[in-house]
């Protein structure tokens, strides 16, 4: 059996984390798309978006939750896909995907901060 840096005990937790983050994403994506469709009726400028989102804690909280769910969900799914379709396993795979998760989190939260702060 291949070496696994995350260990066997972590795998069910990844499974649970992936499902729970999927619940959040199902809701968040729907709200996100509905908001876009509602907001852009009749055109929309960056200035108008920022006017609505700046200093708005509801927007900040919603999109922060969205970004966290993405950062949890996407790397776990990508790990499963890579494990099935490539021979890549073990420490280097898990480390690469942990970095990917951090990158998603950092870029996403930076965007949330820029739009809402």
């Amino acid at each position: 059996m291949v070496a696994r840096v995350l260990g066997d005990a972590v795998n069910p937790k990844l499974f649970v984390a992936q499902r729970l983050s999927a619940f959040v994403l199902a809701l968040a994506v729907a709200v996100h798309l509905a908001t876009i469709l509602y907001a852009v009726r009749g055109g929309l400028t960056a200035g108008e978006i920022l006017a609505r989102t700046h200093g708005n804690p509801a927007f900040a909280l919603f999109y922060a939750a969205f970004v966290i769910a993405v950062a949890v969900h996407a790397p776990i799914g990508l790990r499963n896909v890579l494990r099935e379709w490539t021979p890549w396993r073990g420490r280097s795979l898990d480390a690469a995907l942990a970095l990917f998760a951090l990158a998603l989190l950092a870029l996403g939260l930076r965007a949330v901060y820029a739009v809402c702060a």
Binding site: P12, F15, V16
Partner: protein, 242 residues
């Protein structure tokens, strides 16, 4: 169909991992099974043809092969069910196994995975001193009944896409066996068993394609057994107990 009917054209894999198909012509006979055809070819035309069988009546499961692309017990497959273009059948060894020669496969890795999945009864340090009373209509006993008839023929393992992608995946048969033991009230090894099936190569890797359930000659649904394991593992991840 009687004797003297047009000859069957049987393509059979010859070799191991490397090899090619060899075509044999053999008579069409009434009520002929695919295993009958292979046996006739081996006895009448080419004694070097390797294949495996024992009971010939659907009890042992050792004659499983891929017939026209689908894994089946050849003893329970009538030629009339599977003929293509009126007289053609293609026979291959089971997929996802190492081929020993021709239609014979090495099954050690398959059964090793039953051990990896803790697919054996664990009486515990202090086995029960008396018979366990298990009501036939209890939920757990019914769950066992639905999955217990597996005879380890390897048809599900041959059909499984996930095994094809990930050679370490435990596979439907081993996980199905683990599920029967999870529901065995006498067994005391569930903590270790659920840890074993919760690995990356375990139940969560199943994509629910249901090929195993589609092709199981015993009518078992390993997909549902694996789904049951996923539920157990899910709650165990929260509460930490089986």
């Amino acid at each position: 169909m009687t004797q003297g009917a047009p000859a069957l054209e049987i393509e059979i894999w010859r070799g191991a991992a490397e090899g090619s198909f060899q075509t044999f012509k053999t008579p069409r006979r009434e009520h002929q099974t695919v295993l009958d055809v292979v046996t006739e070819i081996q006895r009448e035309q080419d004694p070097t043809l390797s294949y495996r069988f024992a009971c010939r009546v659907g009890i042992c499961g050792s004659c499983a092969m891929v017939v026209n692309g689908r894994p089946r017990w050849t003893c329970r497959t009538r030629v009339s069910e599977v003929l293509e273009n009126g007289n053609h059948i293609r026979l291959e060894p089971l997929r996802n196994f190492t081929v020993v020669k021709d239609l014979t496969v090495e099954m050690t890795a398959f059964f090793d995975k039953w051990k990896d999945a803790h697919g054996y009864f664990e009486p515990g340090d202090k086995p029960a001193g008396d018979f366990a009373a298990v009501k036939p209509d209890s939920k757990k006993r019914r769950a066992v009944d639905e999955s217990i008839e597996c005879i380890g023929c390897g048809v599900c393992y041959s059909a499984c896409d996930v095994v094809e992608w990930d050679k370490d995946y435990l596979g439907p048969a081993a996980l199905n066996r683990a599920w029967t033991l999870v529901n065995d009230v006498r067994d005391q090894g569930n903590a270790a068993r659920l840890d074993a099936v919760a690995r990356s190569e375990g139940c969560q890797a199943c994509h629910t394609h249901m090929n195993c359930t589609q092709f199981c000659p015993k009518g078992i649904a390993p997909t549902y057994s694996i789904a049951g394991l996923k539920r157990k593992v899910w709650w165990r991840a929260f509460w930490g107990t089986p």
